[in-house]
């Protein structure tokens, strides 16, 4: 086991086909079981980082490394990254008409077994029902087509359902809180906390725009991203300070070092 579960070293990335990097040297390290929050204004590169880690084909990594338990994931296809233990909870999950959630999840879980093997249907159903209950979702939810016609809240719940079913080693949650009302936010957050209780080695990188979700999820560290770099890192109290003062004070390079 490597010291860090996820280690990002000097990562540069851009939108495929563009000439300028959005990520301009990101360094970040997360140990097993830790939760890190990544905050920052719109356009600072937070979502680009999430997509680059997951291997989105629309983004190109120009230099740097992303190591999952010491293994370079940048050389892996998106599906290999997933099977290696990475999970991205999407900000805008795709809608897939005609494919039910339960069919999709069972296929995803079977993909983790040896070639040709399928997840046992009874074990799968039992687990699925447990997780649906945890997220306070009606069992009929699993028969619906993946995100097809879902409300924003339903889509996010579906992401957390997948997280709960797949129990990855490292979860990147891209603005999971956006578009959620206060009840949904609480349920989704409680879901994440429950998963962390039973699966305590899981690392979480929580990307968020607002401090709101941090009332429910307590990160061990908070980072601020500005212009494609981690501009500032601190403990949970940093989130409070951002809430009070916004991001402007961080733009001064002097303040950046002085604040630590």
């Amino acid at each position: 086991m490597a010291e860090h579960l996820l280690e990002i070293r000097n990562l540069h990335a851009r939108v495929e086909g563009e000439v300028t990097d959005i990520l301009r040297g990101v360094d970040l390290a997360i140990r097993h079981g830790e939760m890190h929050a990544l905050m920052g204004p719109n356009g600072s590169g937070k979502s680009t980082l999430a997509k680059a880690i997951a291997g989105h084909p629309g983004y190109e990594v120009t230099s740097g490394e992303v190591l999952l338990d010491g293994e370079n994931v940048l050389e892996m296809e998106p599906d290999e990254r997933s099977r290696a233990g990475l999970f991205l909870a999407f900000q805008y999950p795709a809608e897939i008409p005609g494919v039910s959630i339960s069919n999709f999840l069972r296929t995803a879980m079977s993909a983790r077994l040896a070639e040709g093997e399928e997840m046992d249907i009874f074990a799968f159903q039992k687990r699925l029902m447990e997780k649906l209950e945890m997220l306070k979702v009606d069992p009929s939810f699993a028969a619906r087509y993946v995100n097809d016609g879902f409300s924003g809240g339903e889509k996010k719940r579906n992401e957390i359902l997948q997280l709960a079913m797949l129990e990855p080693r490292m979860a990147v949650m891209d603005e999971t809180d956006s578009g959620l009302d206060i009840d949904a936010l609480r349920i989704v957050s409680e879901g994440v906390n429950t998963i962390r209780e039973t699966h305590d080695s899981m690392g979480v990188l929580l990307i968020t725009h607002y401090k709101r979700i941090l009332n429910y999820l307590r990160p061990d560290y908070v980072h601020v991203m500005l212009k494609g770099q981690i501009a500032h890192s601190g403990g949970p109290e940093l989130a409070d300070r951002l809430e009070e003062m916004g991001y402007d004070w961080l733009h001064e390079p002097e303040a950046e070092t002085a604040a630590v």
């Binding site: 599906d79 997933s82 795709a94 897939i96 005609g98 494919v99 983790r112 087509y145 797949l166």
Partner: protein, 457 residues
Amino acid sequence: MAEGTMTGDTRTDTESAPAAGADAIARGLASYVRSVYEPTLLTRLRREGWKTFVDTPMPTRKAEEWRYTDLSTLEPESYVPVTCEGERLPVERLPEPVREAMESDRDRAGVMVRHNGCLEHLRLDSALEAKGVVYAPLEEVADHRPDLLERFLFRSDVAPMEQKLWGLHAALLSGGYFLYVPAGVDVEHPVHAFRYLDQEGSVVSTHSLIVAEAGARVTCIDEYVSPDLERESLSLNGVEIFGADGATVSYLAVQQYGRGVKHFSMQHSNTGRDSTLNGFNVTLGADLARADVTSHLEGEGARSEMLALWFGDRNQHFDHHTLQHHEAPSAHSDLLYKGALTARSSSVFRGLIRVAEGAQLTDAYQTNRNLLLSPNASAVTLPNLEIGADDVRCSHGASVGQVDETMLFYLMSRGLTRKKAERLLVFGFFEEVLERIPGEGVRSRIRSSIETKIQAR
């Protein structure tokens, strides 16, 4: 047609046929007709069909209807009409689903099996028989109830460009059934026909005639099966559905021929006042499959749902032509045709919504979606509207596209390989058609055939 030919004397039938290229088939047909006993009515229809075939020039690719499927290379005389002479195939050599249907009564109101056009098996629920339901070979009905048959058989309004093959189909008729459901009778389970073809280099011509009287309800399935053939065989097929006022007919055709078969299917549904037709076409087999599907909405308030799916691989060519003909006001039609293509396969969809003058308050939709799974596959889609009334709601949509990258990435980000993700997306693409297919057994067989095709790519 000459008076003499109406007498049923089968010996003079083809001698007056024009010579041009038709001699060989004329001789073949004459010997075929002579070889079997046949009721007068069928012989007459056969002759009329033959005359139509001979009098109609073979459509060329200049005709819009035949632009993408070249009929000029079709040589009907190069195929031998199927006959019922010779040994019967032992039941255990028939494909599994056919045997299963012969041996089990479960979930079926009736079963008919034809092997190379010959009747192998026929059964109809006796309770339905007692209610007056008829499920019988055309020749039998022609003997006992010619009046009934005459009212419906080959009575559909066939478009000029379809006449040539329609005539040939009638002339070469080698087995068909008549399904008749009297007024008010509700047939709960499907009536299921299998047509198994394994005669090399043959031509088989089958007909399905379905009549549902007022308020009747029935579901009917036709399945076409063959092994891969070395010498090409030709399959001609006519379907006529008549739904009287308030009748509901569901019709499903599943074509799963092997290689070496050309299949031409001409389907006409005629729906009366407040009558409903749910039509399905599933095309998976044959080298070339052409379907001309016409829905004649004849009665006010008639409804027609037209669904189809196809999955082409190797160099299969599927060509679907549809017509939603709104002849009466306040009728509703909804067409959804979805095809996936891989390898070097190709498909054509050409659909027309035609609203007759006076067919006000028509509500008609037409959608064709094509999913290309290989850079060498190709699809042509030509939706069309022809509207002769002013107070109507009509729309059409068509697309040809590849697997959606956003969906693919989403699935792959959960650990599915590209292949598994694509498989799921293909099934997802078909699901809105698949889920509506009547009969769980046939639905799951269609799924597993699609699965086999996906795995083979």
